[in-house]
């Protein structure tokens, strides 16, 4: 099959959205988007549509797409999708080669991506392109419900600027979507800083996204500066969910060995799926 690779910037956001949704119609984790959400995704995660690609057959049939995020000397491959009827014909490989080449041209020293755990065709494709696993991350949900106990500790609620300052001092690795650049782009970042009577201290940063009628909490990052991470994490989450008792919450890319995981579970978070982060170094 002859595959033509066309910069994604030549398509409208609606065309890209329609193509993306068609590639994911049978996906193991259904995550359709509309043009508005894809536009936010492009903005928040620094997707460069001039370096992203749509694959098209010689007869004009759309085959798939892939997007490239670019930050200084790092790149991120995302939204790779191929229409179900044209899989296993080299389209995904061609899109990946195009993204890798574009990342290299832009001077990226590393290129990262995430693949949903057990998506073996994609995982094997990335292995073939010399990507190596760097970590496993959980995507969790929490339905709004009353907290089981009143929260403790002295809390300072952080505005966007202070919340971003906290993230920049975060000592551990953050995946692309939770990185400080993504949070800064999103402009709906808030946080809280907690001090407990026993000296325990830490902070929690999150996005508070306004929809038409309600808000949703997402992209949580927890850090314990002092004390027991489970206790500090529990109190941070208790304070958050007491303040936002009616908010749905979506915690993305929490490392599977995050020391606060027990706190998430204690507060009613449950796992939806896992992502494997992979890295390619040039």
């Amino acid at each position: 099959m002859t595959i033509e690779l066309i910069p994604a910037e030549r398509f409208t956001m609606q065309e890209l959205t329609d193509l993306y949704n068609q590639t994911r119609v049978d996906y193991m984790v259904p995550m359709p988007m509309n043009a508005s959400r894809l536009g936010e995704y492009v903005h928040d995660f620094d997707i460069d549509l001039s370096q992203s690609c749509v694959a098209r057959a010689a007869d004009g049939q759309m085959l798939g797409l892939c997007m490239l995020g670019v930050r200084q000397n790092e790149a991120w491959i995302t939204r790779l999708g191929v229409l179900p009827a044209t899989r296993r014909s080299g389209v995904g490989s061609a899109l990946m080669d195009c993204m890798m080449e574009n990342a290299s041209k832009l001077g990226a020293k590393t290129t990262q991506l995430e693949v949903i755990k057990n998506n073996l065709p994609a995982y094997n494709l990335f292995l073939c392109k010399d990507f190596k696993e760097t970590g496993e991350y959980l995507v969790m949900r929490r339905a709004p419900h009353p907290a089981s106990e009143p929260p403790r500790g002295n809390v300072d609620w952080l505005d966007s600027e202070k919340a971003l300052e906290a993230i920049q001092a975060y000592p551990n690795h953050l995946t692309w979507i939770n990185a400080s650049e993504s949070m800064r782009n999103a402009q709906d970042v808030e946080g809280l800083r907690l001090t407990l009577p026993d000296g325990g201290a830490g902070w929690l940063v999150y996005r508070n996204t306004k929809f038409t009628l309600r808000s949703t909490l997402s992209h949580l990052i927890i850090h314990t500066e002092q004390g027991n991470p489970i206790e500090v994490g529990t109190q941070l989450l208790l304070n958050l969910h007491t303040r936002y008792a009616h908010h749905d919450t979506y915690a993305e890319n929490i490392h599977k060995d995050d020391p606060h995981l027990s706190a998430f579970h204690a507060l009613g978070y449950f796992e939806n799926f896992s992502r494997i982060e992979m890295l390619h170094s040039s």
């Binding site: 359709p32 959400r37 339905a143 709004p144 009628l213 309600r214 949703t216 009616h246 749905d248 009613g268």
Partner: protein, 124 residues
């Protein structure tokens, strides 16, 4: 007979479910995204909502929260129809206080049975 709203973004699924639901004599309506689904729920007060979790604007979990937080819609039974794995669907139904689930692909008999069961419970 009941008034049933199906919120689902894939047209083929809507067509399939519409055939099943109307063949049982129910009134059927559909919406392809969360916001339209919410508007239709407010406007038509359905007896039952069939809800896909993967929607293009806000996902089904978030939409169910909006509905459960509203005094008009809080008691409307919601059945999740999803491609998510069964364990996730079960956790979602429990956590979000929903009324049942079916994982895709499902049979006509399974859909008819869960609709009848949930409608009977809600009218009891």
């Amino acid at each position: 007979m009941a008034k049933i709203l199906y919120i689902e973004d894939i047209k083929d699924n809507i067509t399939l479910v519409q055939k099943i639901v109307t063949s049982r004599g129910h009134e059927f309506m559909s919406a392809e995204n969360a916001e339209t689904g919410l508007e239709m729920a407010f406007a038509h007060h359905p007896d039952l909502i069939l809800l896909d979790l993967g929607l293009p604007d806000a996902d089904g979990q978030t939409l169910s929260v909006w509905m459960r937080n509203d005094p008009i819609l809080e008691t409307v039974p919601i059945i999740v129809l999803t491609a998510w794995p069964e364990e996730v669907a079960r956790h979602t139904v429990e956590a979000y206080n929903l009324n049942g689930y079916l994982c895709k692909p499902f049979t006509m008999a399974e859909l008819v049975q869960i609709i009848d069961t949930v409608l009977n419970k809600s009218s009891a």
